[in-house]
Symmetry: D2
Subunit: 325 residues, 4 copies
Amino acid sequence: MQIGVFGLGRMGANIVRRLMRAQHECVVFNRTPDKVRQLEGEGAIAAASLAQFVHLLAKPRVVWVMLPAGDVTEQAIAALAEKLEPGDIVIDGGNSYYKDDVRRAKLINAKGINYIDVGTSGGVWGLERGYCLMIGGKPEIVNYLDPIFKSLAPGIGDIPKTPGREHLSSTAEMGYLHCGSHGAGHFVKMVHNGVEYALMQAYAEGFDIFRSANSQELTEDYRYDLNMADISEVWRRGSVVGSWLLDLTAMALAENPTLSNYSGYVQDSGEGRWTIMAAIEEAVPADVLSAALYTRFRSRQEHTFAEKILSAMRYKFGGHVEQHS
Amino acid sequence: MQIGVFGLGRMGANIVRRLMRAQHECVVFNRTPDKVRQLEGEGAIAAASLAQFVHLLAKPRVVWVMLPAGDVTEQAIAALAEKLEPGDIVIDGGNSYYKDDVRRAKLINAKGINYIDVGTSGGVWGLERGYCLMIGGKPEIVNYLDPIFKSLAPGIGDIPKTPGREHLSSTAEMGYLHCGSHGAGHFVKMVHNGVEYALMQAYAEGFDIFRSANSQELTEDYRYDLNMADISEVWRRGSVVGSWLLDLTAMALAENPTLSNYSGYVQDSGEGRWTIMAAIEEAVPADVLSAALYTRFRSRQEHTFAEKILSAMRYKFGGHVEQHS
Amino acid sequence: MQIGVFGLGRMGANIVRRLMRAQHECVVFNRTPDKVRQLEGEGAIAAASLAQFVHLLAKPRVVWVMLPAGDVTEQAIAALAEKLEPGDIVIDGGNSYYKDDVRRAKLINAKGINYIDVGTSGGVWGLERGYCLMIGGKPEIVNYLDPIFKSLAPGIGDIPKTPGREHLSSTAEMGYLHCGSHGAGHFVKMVHNGVEYALMQAYAEGFDIFRSANSQELTEDYRYDLNMADISEVWRRGSVVGSWLLDLTAMALAENPTLSNYSGYVQDSGEGRWTIMAAIEEAVPADVLSAALYTRFRSRQEHTFAEKILSAMRYKFGGHVEQHS
Amino acid sequence: MQIGVFGLGRMGANIVRRLMRAQHECVVFNRTPDKVRQLEGEGAIAAASLAQFVHLLAKPRVVWVMLPAGDVTEQAIAALAEKLEPGDIVIDGGNSYYKDDVRRAKLINAKGINYIDVGTSGGVWGLERGYCLMIGGKPEIVNYLDPIFKSLAPGIGDIPKTPGREHLSSTAEMGYLHCGSHGAGHFVKMVHNGVEYALMQAYAEGFDIFRSANSQELTEDYRYDLNMADISEVWRRGSVVGSWLLDLTAMALAENPTLSNYSGYVQDSGEGRWTIMAAIEEAVPADVLSAALYTRFRSRQEHTFAEKILSAMRYKFGGHVEQHS
């Protein structure tokens, strides 16, 4: 089917490519025109302006917005809403806050325009592996878009069937899922990212214990020279901790076991934060999800003010003057 | 090759079966004889006593001890050490503390007997999937036992090769790894389990946020009826959080999405605890590993004394009398 | 000076009493009239309705609202705003969210009515000890209310002066502080409560380690019968961990060292939660503040769904069936 | 009474001074003689060697060892044990691991020498305020040393009596406590320090939220310029979070509200670590005590290896290249 894609960053461009491979017709638009031209060269229909973008789309128009969460997405959807007509469909495929979906859907529905939120996981691998799609919105619209979702998702592939699912029917096995009403897709994606941070941190702490064991002063208990590339590799095989994130860790450690090419300065996106806020609103103890988020906050500072408070107290009660070693 | 297996619990018995499938000759012994008889029926050579067990093994004898960590393993190895001869090999395949390996290896080496520690991951799936083996001890002995390890491990199978490993040669790709000297195998397995706890807790908190969202009082922000079985399934497909633990979660949720058949009373083994102790000895911040362990401690109590202290303070400063709702 | 107090719960009533002791004239109102009558008996001027309450107050009216945070306070202030006149002053002395102060102040200021937010700490002890007041709003209004704040606060008393403050002039030494513009008082009180939770949890975990040491199976390392009442008492004397919360703990343990009269079911108020949300908005690692909040969440559940997920995974990979011991 | 003090660091020297003020006779010894001479000038009896130190003491000798925990204390006590005679008393007043006390007491008792462990809190303030003493060992020996303990402890002073203690008799009110058999004093001191870390961290995170609120980009929700010196001061007056550590924080912030003179590089001693190990041995959830310890570990590193693992994973799945801002 035909679809318009607004926003051609790494994710947006690859989504266009995966859709075109599946014979969907893609109309593309981006604030900076070079990306539009590149995808035009790959077979997409190029739009030079938002007006042209809307004009080029057949009714009911389907527009996938793939922009950074927050103001950029907000403004883009507002601009689209002014140009679209009743029956058209706006899909927010970015990382929006699910409460913004609820609010925006209400605004847009009032004009007769449909709203769908899609949490999209897959990163730079999605083009080849397919994207895991978590979808929120009205069932009939989600159903109408099924060809799009089916093409973007990985499909059943060679991932083993889950025993016990024989009696269940759901698109989940194909890698996309209608999670519920407006915002449900981004709610599920939000928690997905919260979980992702904690999974990452679990491995990270484990390998830190290895690296640090290697660098301990030599004692009977600490005399190992553990090969972290090999450990990450062996864990991929038959162990309980195998995962795709471990696969990536094994790649990185195989290339450079000291990871000296990485800064250790770790960003976080809104979703990890919103997950904790949801947990707090629901009174769910979220110990590891929070701890994982906080290590990222900490990674971006030289010293926290909290640490200076500790130094100050220690000086005041014990006369300890602390310096960098 | 021939191998003796001492300890025929779930893990021990399956190890015997996987070795026999690979045409190794297994001499088996267990404190309770019924398990011996069962494996005899499957082709193993049965020993009725420790003395007979040792007698039935050709020199240099290879004995795989597969018993619960702690006193049971300690005593079994001590008993074996009295009956074995120089050149024989004892393998501790259980979940021993790596510091015990270091100590025991020294004792046993003094008698000319060799000691190997093997951390074994795979659970009830190991018989079919193969076991991930983390091995510590002298290289020449590890090398001698290679046919055993190769048969127990999963082998390369259909797990994709790690890009970047082309130039590396290691048995890690086959699912077994010589990690270092005495204790190194159990050290790596210890951290493996510490990481496992935190990975499990990460998913657990995520699904708790879903379940709790479903049971919130209905508001605009919380009006979803999320299908957790489907969510766990869709995450297996193309998402960043795919893993074997997620596969198991998807199985459990497919069978019973409320998990009402599970108690929520969660045991922990020594390895999760020792991981934190190692982190502390090394001054490694282990925030999520610790938090994951503590939720298990907490799960086994009705109320902690800490919570009573909180109630008491609250009563004393605010007059709050707290009761079960 | 004259002041109206709306809301005569434990805190509100004691605030009236402390103000009357300082010769302020108090007009009082409450939804349920018995509390009004009781304070009338102690010298307050009773109002039978909100209209009468406003009528009885001299202009510019000063109204201290002391109600539970959330809808109750919201509605009370809205109702007052309809009856008050330009120049009047509304003080929200409850535990409101500071973002609500910002919003409400704007609404009310538009009518010419002044808004002050006051975070009030002191609990049931405040009547005798005085209340610690954290104040937000316009300086001239805060200044106008100084006699009220001074009477409610503890004053300098016999608390030692802080060395280094000789050159600083501030009402902080008297126990009340103008923290900043609208919401600043409740912002500071919010963090105060977040810190309070963590201080409480710190002691709670410490005493749990004592109680649990007492109940360990007897070994050489665990053979103590620690007297927790005495420990809490000795720590009050010359140690680094002395505090008012410890004083309260010592009281509770002196009365009943097993604390069997307390449930261990621990409530939390909005402030602890909002503190974490502020930390997350600011990207401040708030590890202990969060952990303290989560133990409260956990204390109110028999088992979390997270724990059932753990049980389920353990069963699926290891065949572990977990039961209550 | 007469007492020998071995180890004249800051704590040891002030203990001597406080004992001399109470008219006890002090024989002093130290590895470096200048400190011996200084205290001789203040009235102590100086020993030039360990042999002379022992010689100068009247039988039964009482020796207070005040040295850094670990090897230094271990060796000093071993050296003393060779020179002392049955009936003599060794007091370890340092920060030893309580398991070392249990072991050492057994060794020394075998020679008829008595062993007492004393956890000593008070820091540089102890000379004036008195030391909080937590004592382990045999009751008759503790009783014999009562004049020493009484002189070092703060005494009842002007700290209010705990309501509910009227019927209890204990030296706890005087600031010293016999906690139990060998090691009990250091066990209680160990947990004391674990709690101390978490109390410190609670305030530290709270003030970090203030400082960070001040430095947020200006929005309606973040437009405060909070005066942290004043906040710490006002909290000392009538609030729930008042404590001695807060007093010290108020001092530091009064001197320099930015704390720019402190590094934020925070040491930890063995006791904080051993507290967590005890919690783990006892299966006590110690969430805030652990988190407080880990922030200290983290404060001493530029970037953890864990953070580099996170960066590496992020690069591998999302192509995110992270740099220092």
